[in-house]
Symmetry: C2
Subunit: 214 residues, 2 copies
Amino acid sequence: MSSDAATDIMDGTHSALRTHGYAELTMQDIADEAGLSKAALHYHFDCKHDLLLAFLDRLLARFRERISDVGGDDAADRLLSLVETVLLPPTDGEPHEFRTALLEIEAQAPYDEAYRSRLERFDEVLTEEVRSILEDGVAEGTFCDDVDPAEAASFVVTYVRGARTENVAVGTALGDSLEAFRGYVERALLAPAATSVTDGGDADDGAGDEVDGE
Amino acid sequence: MSSDAATDIMDGTHSALRTHGYAELTMQDIADEAGLSKAALHYHFDCKHDLLLAFLDRLLARFRERISDVGGDDAADRLLSLVETVLLPPTDGEPHEFRTALLEIEAQAPYDEAYRSRLERFDEVLTEEVRSILEDGVAEGTFCDDVDPAEAASFVVTYVRGARTENVAVGTALGDSLEAFRGYVERALLAPAATSVTDGGDADDGAGDEVDGE
C-alpha cells in the first residue's frame, strides 16, 4: 500500500483506540478516524486483528527508536531518562486512553499468540536497552560492581510494567512512579562514590562529579 | 441470601471467570458453574456487573486475610513471605486464567468507577501491610534506617503489580519475579549488618543472626 494510506490507517487506528478502546473497536471506527471508506480499509487489511498486529509492529519500531537515543551524563542519568521516556513519552502520543487500550491488548495476549509475540518483543527491546546501560554503569563505576545487569534489567522492566498498569487500573500518577524509581536507582544501583541522582551534591568522596555536573 | 447460595454463586463466578474470561462471561455461564438456574441467579443479582462487584468484595476480604498472617523471623522474612503469598498463593486458588480475568477487569477500571474503587482497596490493603513491615524492619534494624517506608511500600506494590501483569501478558514465571524481588530486598533495604536473606551466611559482622537462623 502507499505510505500515505499506511500512515492514515495507522494514525486512524491510534485515534480509534483512544476513542473507543480495544474491546469495542470496529473497522468502521478505524475507517472513520483514518478518513477512508470501510471498503478501502478492507482492501489493505482483512480484519481488525491483522490491522492491530500491523499497528503493534509500527508501535514497536517507534518504541525502539524512542528508547535508543536517550542521553545523559552517565549511566544513572541514561537509565532515568530511559524510564522517563517509557513512562512519560515526551510527545502527547500516549494519553491515558491509549495506555488503557494497550492494557486491554495485554489482557488478551494469553488467548492470542500473535499479540503475545509482539508484546514479548517490546519487553525484549526494553530489557536489552536497560541491561546495556547497567553494564556500562558497572564498567564506568557509576553502579556498584556487584549489580547483575541481567537480573536488574528484568527487575526494572517489571517495575515499569507495574507503573503503567497501576496508572490505568487505579490512576497512580506516572510521575510518582518515576520518582520512586529514582529512589531505587540510588539505593540499589548507585556505587557509594557516585553523586546522588536527585540533588547532584552529596557525594561523600567527590568521585562521582560527572553526574549532573554541568 | 443464604450463605450456601452465596458460596455457590461466588465459587461459580470464580470457575466461570477461569473458564470463559471476563469479556465473554455471561450470567448463564455463572449459573451453570454454580449449579443454579439463571432465574435463581437473577433473584440474587440483577446483572453480571453487580455480581462481579460482590465477587471482588469477597476476593478482597480473602486477600486481606491471606496477607495479614504471614510469618517470618524478622521483617525481611515477613516481607518476602508477603510478596510470595501475593505472587504465588499457597492454594491453587489463582491459576493463570484467573489472573488473566483480573487483568481484564483492571483494563476496564478506567471506564468503571465501581471496579476502580475495589481495585484501589486491594492496593491500599497491600501497601499498608508492606509499609507496616518496612517500619518494623527499620525499627528492629533489619532494614537501613534511611528507608522511607511509605515510598518503598509504593515501590514494592508497583513491582508486584508489574510481575502479575507480565505473567499474564508475556508469561514470565512468577517465581522468577519473586527471585528478582529478593535481590531488591538485599540491595535496597537490608541494613549492612543484617544477614543475607538468600544464603543466611555472609553477614560481615554477624549482627543479623536472627535471619534464617534456625
